[in-house]
Symmetry: C2
Subunit: 188 residues, 2 copies
DNA sequence: CGCCGAGTTGAACTGAATCAAGAAACGTGG
DNA sequence: CCACGTTTCTTGATTCAGTTCAACTCGGCG
């Protein structure tokens, strides 16, 4: 759980009781490679912090799986739209390695947000930072070729090739598996 | 300013003093069509709520302007990455009609966030909702053809054609001006 | 009247998708 | 530890939506 506490501390000062509140509110849970952490059409009532392993989110489009993102340990994951709006999720969350997470459900989270001002502030920073990440990502990637997208991804997530297979990575980049395979074939 | 108060009230209960704090913290400012509200490379220290008019954000890519989004009245705008991280903005904010905004600077905003719990909570909801919007948008648009993107845009922002010119709209959709012009030419 | 920005139309080109086989690698049970 | 089925990855040929470049139209306005 240290990784989670450090993550929160990166954003806000955390008094001892707030740290205690976090440790009490999150539960540790384990998944096997291949397990579905959240199934499409369920309402996602949990927020997960990955302590160990790798997770992807995906949804079905024309009967085919589309990977939306791949998350290594040290990141928060959930089906955001489902979690925030309490509606059925269009995406699934899938452990692609043996994975350990810290889980908190929405009710508990809201409770902690309201009771611990520092954690409430952290919640805002987390949302702001996620929003900003998505914003910069979508703007930055718009004009990149398939090759540039891939090199870019490798630069900030180099071991993704060990953690996720070709098809997932290609899908996450919005390119076909064949194209990505050809890119790998070329040198540099 | 009523529109702004209503916007906040949509997300949170707003005690009278909190409402007063908002009215005191935001200043009204006017821009002429064509004015730059924020210039690229400046640090954006303000958050704007559009009371009247239309605004777009854009950045330069290979010497050409790329419109990232077009906002009508009733929305918050800023150069998010610059505002949140207090770094130089890569994008500019541009009034494309005569526009009236309510402005708040970051210091004042943080102050209000900390002093008024309801407004702090609103800040988190705002960030969460923006994040979610970007998320669903980017996922939803990935597999749409140029035509579907345009029809989709028209369905939730029908008067955009009156408010923004062809080039801005095409750029915002990530398609060329020529392609959008051809789409308009087709019937239906 | 002639210029200018905005929009339209035409023709040629291209990056990446798709379709279609194969080749490797992987793991499970005998 | 090997055989066999399954999944993952590679390679080739073809196709297409949308880009690019270039020229042209239209309406407004000094």
């Amino acid at each position: 759980m240290k990784e989670l506490i450090d993550y929160v501390k990166y954003y806000v000062k955390l008094p001892a009781e707030a740290e205690k509140a976090i440790l009490e509110s999150f539960k540790v849970r384990e998944y096997q490679k291949g397990d579905l952490i959240l199934r499409e059409r369920d309402v996602c009532r949990n927020l997960f912090f990955i302590l160990k392993g790798t997770v992807r989110t995906f949804y079905l489009h024309d009967g085919k799986e589309v990977t939306t993102w791949i998350y290594p340990n040290g990141y928060f994951v959930t089906a955001w739209s489902s979690f925030l709006l309490e509606k059925e999720s269009f995406e699934s969350v899938h452990a692609i390695e043996n994975t350990t997470v810290a889980v908190i459900n929405k009710l508990t989270l809201n409770d902690v947000y309201d009771k611990r001002i520092s954690i409430g502030r952290f919640g805002r920073f987390l949302a702001e930072e996620k929003m900003n990440g998505k914003d910069e990502y979508s703007k930055g990637y718009m004009f990149l070729s398939a090759k540039e997208k891939y090199n870019n991804l490798l630069s900030f997530f180099p071991d993704i090739v060990q953690r996720a297979n070709l098809g997932y990575i290609a899908s996450m980049l919005g390119i076909s598996q064949e194209t990505l395979s050809r890119l790998r074939g070329e040198k540099s």
